[in-house]
Symmetry: D2
Subunit: 363 residues, 4 copies
């Protein structure tokens, strides 16, 4: 179960570098009988694909996924599902000058020390490219969760300093702009900000939010595999993520107990500061998580670094890059949340299928 595998019952194992022959993934533990086709996966992959707008990387990839096993006559068989995406557009020559240089804030330096050398083309295994596979696996999880009435949706909360206005929140807007912004009115401001950034040659971070609706009460395996702990793990494993919050997150620090607690009535909870998780177990309310993404490390603006001989150098990155990886993280965050929820759903029913309880469910 080394580092490239996630999950206990529903497991995702991936392989592939940004400039290798292909990316792949094995999804194990998907229950049988779920309708599944390449089209189901392609939908989410296309949302992640670079080249969708002028604000994302101009790298054109087909990102066409193939299902190689685990599906028969249109339904999952319960056996492992092999997925494959061939890398078609890598432009190796863009990276030939970096074999001996370490780009600041990239994983070049650490990969070299950990493994003795590294595949220097693109980001190799550390590139965001590998997340394509997670999105495909997450699409399978979403398909299953949908059969249980559970949905997972994400959106952009903040692009650099530009925050969405909660009063203008509309889920239908999220897919109408290239930012996944649920606030239609702020899109122009975001586009302007991004164009300025592009001209400046700089980058900025982002904050993404993910919400799961229709979740049952009871998911999560205290104490170490609490639902929120597993969500934190899965979300923090996404490239460029530097922070994870559940519910009110860091706002809890200055909150008083009377403000924070979500009181209960026979008709439901009166608030959701907890973000749908208490004591590491889902309450049945919407599960809400936020992630902070750092600004992209590949810049045209020169940065000081060292080369493989330890000499001081200056690094400039040209070629095709994302000025804001945050824009693309939304489908990835959805995928990770879906994978975690699915794993927990199977675990919970595995252990507690015989449990019955008279207490009313108020969500």
């Amino acid at each position: 179960m080394s580092g490239n595998s996630y999950g206990k019952l529903f497991t995702v194992t991936t392989f592939g570098e940004s400039h290798g022959k292909a990316l792949g993934c094995i999804v194990d533990g998907c229950p049988p009988g779920i309708e599944l086709s390449e089209a189901d996966l392609q939908l989410d992959l296309d949302r992640r694909k670079p080249g969708t707008s002028r604000h994302t990387t101009q790298r054109r990839e087909a990102d066409e996924v193939e299902i190689l096993s685990g599906v028969f006559e249109g339904k999952t068989t319960g056996t492992p599902i092999g997925l494959l995406i061939k890398n078609t557009d890598q432009r190796s020559k863009d990276y030939s000058n970096i074999e001996e240089t370490f780009r600041p804030a990239h994983a070049d330096y650490v990969y070299t020390h950990k493994y003795g050398f590294r595949d220097y083309r693109g980001g190799g295994r550390s590139s965001a490219r590998e997340t394509a596979m997670r999105v495909a696996a997450g699409a399978i999880a979403k398909k299953f969760l949908a059969t249980k009435g559970i949905g997972v949706k994400g959106y952009l909360s903040q692009l650099g300093p530009v925050k969405i206005d909660p009063a203008k929140f509309d889920w239908n807007e999220v897919h109408n702009n290239p930012f996944f912004s649920p606030d239609a009115d702020i899109v122009n401001t975001m586009e302007q900000y991004m164009d300025d950034l592009r001209k400046e040659g700089n980058s900025v971070g982002a904050k993404i939010s993910v919400v799961a609706t229709g979740t049952p009460v009871g998911l999560g395996e205290p104490i170490f595999d609490r639902l929120d702990a597993d969500l934190a793990h899965a979300l923090m494993s996404i490239n460029a993520v530097k922070g994870v919050e559940i519910g009110d997150g860091f706002e809890c620090v200055a909150q008083k107990g009377t403000e924070h607690r979500d009181e209960m009535t026979p008709d439901g909870f009166l608030s959701n500061h907890a973000g749908g998780v208490l004591g590491g177990i889902s309450t049945g309310q919407d599960i809400i998580a936020h992630i902070a993404l750092k600004p992209t490390s590949s810049l045209r603006l020169p940065g000081r670094s060292i080369n493989s001989r330890g000499e001081a150098i200056e690094v400039i990155t040209t070629g095709r890059h994302d000025p804001c990886v945050g824009i693309r993280a939304t489908p990835i965050a959805e995928a990770m949340m879906a994978i975690v929820l699915m794993d927990h759903l199977l675990r919970h029913r595995g252990q507690n299928a015989d449990v019955s309880c008279d207490v009313p469910i108020i969500t």
Copy 2:
């Protein structure tokens, strides 16, 4: 490896409820030959113990840990280490009225739905009491890490709205006050704030920071077992934690790429916005994490809730409780970081012991 076990090579498995007979823990995978005694563990346990100051719970527990196996003639044998702490002071009668009530913002409601019923005395398994075992296990990890020149220390960054002043930061102060504050001057303000809170009958959250020094470059197993992902998992698994940051965390959202990136020179990194982790692997710089703890859920101030028949009730919690769990989380956060680092150290040398590399290490 169900939900109460953490780690791949260095594993911690715990059991015990707040009002059961005892708490226990099995620590597996500790290398042999490490000097270990009860005294080593007791040191950290005492830091966590309630009753240390008037600001924490007035529940008096001996919290005396016994080593039952895995140590021979003062050294670890490499076989599993069994630890035991007997519960001595539970005051069951304080909880007899809550068998049928669900306290708001506690895990009562979710545990009942997940398992069909619950041990209603105290918080049962969801109580903070079980963290005593993690602190003991973490002390073992700290002992081993120390032999490798790695240290793990935590402190309070913020108590409710009261922030420490970075200019006054002094590690030596952390153990001189009951808040784990590294800023000696702010302690009076914190004490005053806490007394007001106590009179009001309310509670507040806190922000704790943990720092690991002397870490080697190369720890972390991308992509799912990235060091930061495992840290997020371990820290989020602590009761009351609602957010985790690595390095600059959520400040990254508004940072530009030129501000965020830690440039490198032959003499070292020029900054540490990354918090010591890049691409999921340690850089050799200090590893910095922050956690947000929600305000305590047990209040004297009445809160609306329901009972097990779904009827509306009002809940008041009397007895002994923590007005701010944040004060006690510092040793627990240290313990979790130590456990994660130790697991990763063993995993890294397991896979990469033969790796050699000419590139200079600049940290």
Copy 3:
């Protein structure tokens, strides 16, 4: 999940050396609501206990197990169950001369090289004593399986050269003699053989069989966690086991396909050469496994060995020892089979709870 933990959903983690303070165990993932008390566990522990007859070790141990957590008002809570057995009768002085000697066919030599040193009292962690904890954990699994109509029973097939007569097989006899023999008539022969062995100062091996009845079809997770693979793992992990068979085992080598295959009719299978497992999945027939136990390594008859300086020495073992560990392995084999079946039952329903199938079940 280091080496002292077994299971995916239903997990058993143990600690303890033969001459340490105590043996312990954490059983995690037991569904809630199962009635459980110390008496349930004590029953199986007593079957394993030395001193039961003159043919087993004369070491008197109370082997009284305590339940420290995970049970409330007589039922499992779904939280981890901590078990403890204090070591009361170790007679350390019997072992003081072996600190520097390696007993042939014991684990002394390998433990010293693996860990650098060893707890030389008794067998330390390698002693059969630690199996007491597995029997206790297995009793919990048996309790749960019984609620599903599944039973697990073992018996002695062969003691050294003395085989039971299948024509005389009677389950009721198994508990009427100290050998777990289902053949009442052969007991005298076995007793005579054992007395001769004792006088000679030698030991002999044994073959134990375990049968699970009432199992459903569908348990097992191909390809690596096949039911038979997990059974082989669990049974081979018992001290002194050198071989495992499922169904006809090594008799299959010379069988023809027409002889081996278990044909099916609407009224059931016509035979059970497969031992209840096909393609790694249970068929619904009785699950049958056999294990081979090597003769005890502690003998009064001198054996050649070396000491810790590598010098040739002669080793004689005095004190209290088992002339045939096989006699005691029956409850341990039952326990391991029960643990494996329980883990698989939870895993199977976790993944496949929604599966329905019109095909009749013929078992």
Copy 4:
């Protein structure tokens, strides 16, 4: 880590059905810097390939493996290695009549009940075809083990009733005949026996032995991940295996202690009844395991069975089949032993890299 993943540090995860698009595998945790190419893997795959002799299945498959990731400039990078084999020769029409029938002694019946339906073409996931992937993964393990001076070799001990003569044992003969027999003189007898079997339309079982040489002392993680327990698990997971032995295996049952124990002298062990494993840890001697394979279940001779409506039917299997799967299991058994040894080698050095010991190693 669901059922299709094996290993803790060195992990193998596979996917693929016999008649799906492709078979694949992800090998994770291979240390970096090991030379690896498709040719290394192809060598072992060709040994396993059907069509090699008239005694094995006449199904012609290219079985050409592709390395899709994890290797850069001819060396492993330490990142996961993706392998792919496209299925080219399935002859689907041979299986069209079995959609509704359950072949006796195949996994058809159990797969249908476990998953609700099954991919009825060939054996689907239960087919021996998936072992091709394990052989490829095992070849990677063998490459690494070779750098440590460890070799893994297998041979046929017994084909049906025909046993090899230990006095004629010659490792060089193993690759000179299609049976992997180390006894050149018995090959004619085996060929004759096989031809008679083929004419009869029947099948027979086999016994394969695997030996690891040059292994260090100290591999194995008691108590549950003992080296022999993991070997038993890995070997029993191979299709058609019904029994596993370590060392003398079931011969131990009738052995006396004085016969069985491997005495030690300063110049080495005097025997190897233990098969290289004591107390679950390798002794440094050759590690010896044997497996029993049942006769092939696909026969031209009619067998009684039921169809999916539970009606009595007769089943005849035509097409291309193995009359003795045992002949092909040798490379698979080698592969599994190599995978287990590699995983344990990484785990052992992960935990015990700092151990030193003055005691001489006598192997």
